[in-house]
Symmetry: C2
Subunit: 264 residues, 2 copies
Amino acid sequence: MRVEIWSDIACPWCYIGKARFEKGLAGFAHRDGVEVVHRSFELDPGRAKGDTVQVTDMLAAKYGRGADEVRAMEEHVATQARSEGLGYRSEGRDHGSTFDIHRLLHLARARGRQNELLDLAYRANFAEERSVYDDGTLVRLAVEAGLAETEVREVLADPDAYADAVRDDEREAAELGANGVPFFVFDRRIGVSGGQPAEVFTQALEQAWGSRTTVTMVGAGAGSGEVSGEAGGEVCDTDGACAVPASKSGPASDPASAQAGAPS
Amino acid sequence: MRVEIWSDIACPWCYIGKARFEKGLAGFAHRDGVEVVHRSFELDPGRAKGDTVQVTDMLAAKYGRGADEVRAMEEHVATQARSEGLGYRSEGRDHGSTFDIHRLLHLARARGRQNELLDLAYRANFAEERSVYDDGTLVRLAVEAGLAETEVREVLADPDAYADAVRDDEREAAELGANGVPFFVFDRRIGVSGGQPAEVFTQALEQAWGSRTTVTMVGAGAGSGEVSGEAGGEVCDTDGACAVPASKSGPASDPASAQAGAPS
């Protein structure tokens, strides 16, 4: 089963929601059969690279509130984060364009290192207050996640690298009706919006797992409805023969139209 | 969208079916949005490592036919392969346990090199008549596919490495009702059995694509049926705010329960 998670590194509920999802996954009996894919969603897609501000200043300006109130807002989120065992420093964090981080997360996915990079980027942004908005930090995080430095620098230097992958993810989120993140989709059957309690994720996993083998066959020989063992086309089967479709009498009894891949 | 393909390297219809699928994919408008995952299916799971025989000898013994008849059977498959532009040598091929190849294909998947390794292994087995049943060839193929030699040797030396991944794939194939391969599943909605014509794959891709955003929301705030933009839980949205669920009046107007991830 596959779980797709749309998120943004700038989104505290994504950071917290990931921990809650992972707690829900830990409570799911078939967790070893679950693959997780992280997908891109920029909360602030209009922000230019290099246009970086302090989160607290941005919050104060946006809501017209003083520093104390902003700190209280951040502390509320920090409390939620800490209750999930996550570090969260409520001051000194930067806010900027996350496009390059998303591009690197796609590179990391292609190299089997996506979850590692995402965890390191979240920790850097929320717990360590390292700015994830400069190339130097991004390179260090990506190398720490197991990527090759040369390849990381090439991706950062080429604004088109994985740019379409980021935009495709964002288009798909819109098609799925996701206006915010985190947004979780289980085998394209079940969706969960937001950083919900771990039990909700366990329930969604169980529901999606239960229906994961309900597939409609199409093509030659396909019956309607559920999967049939004899759905047509040219197959090699576990009886030991590779038949051509003309061999309706059964491949093993008609060697002229069979070719073996696995004799018993 | 994700396509899962169960196959075995020993299966000529898998080799041919992969080419037909890829032709079907090339004719699909949204091909750039399709991810392909190759899954394990051993046609001859009982065969021990090192127990390798000539395919033609095995066919002759299995069907009690002479060398000429066996050659005719193989030539039939070869004709189909060549019509797809694939090399196929009908004599001199080995047959053996494919368990280690499947384990390496899982390693390759984790490193983003699965398709490369599968193509090289198919070509070695069917077109070049290199035996894919000895470790030396497997190491060379895996390195050629872009894997690190040390890691490949470690996996080959440890029979447990990725063994569960192979068996999980095979269990899932059984649950899906697949008795033979190749077996194609599109977003866990649509299935195709066998090496069918390219048009069948294009049709399956189109059908699965059309329904890929039909997701049922669960959890707090989820309505029944289709995705809702306000499905509940704590989200950061593109309006620029990260709300807590208590903020039912809307995050942007209630800064005390909001924390910004993306101001506009």
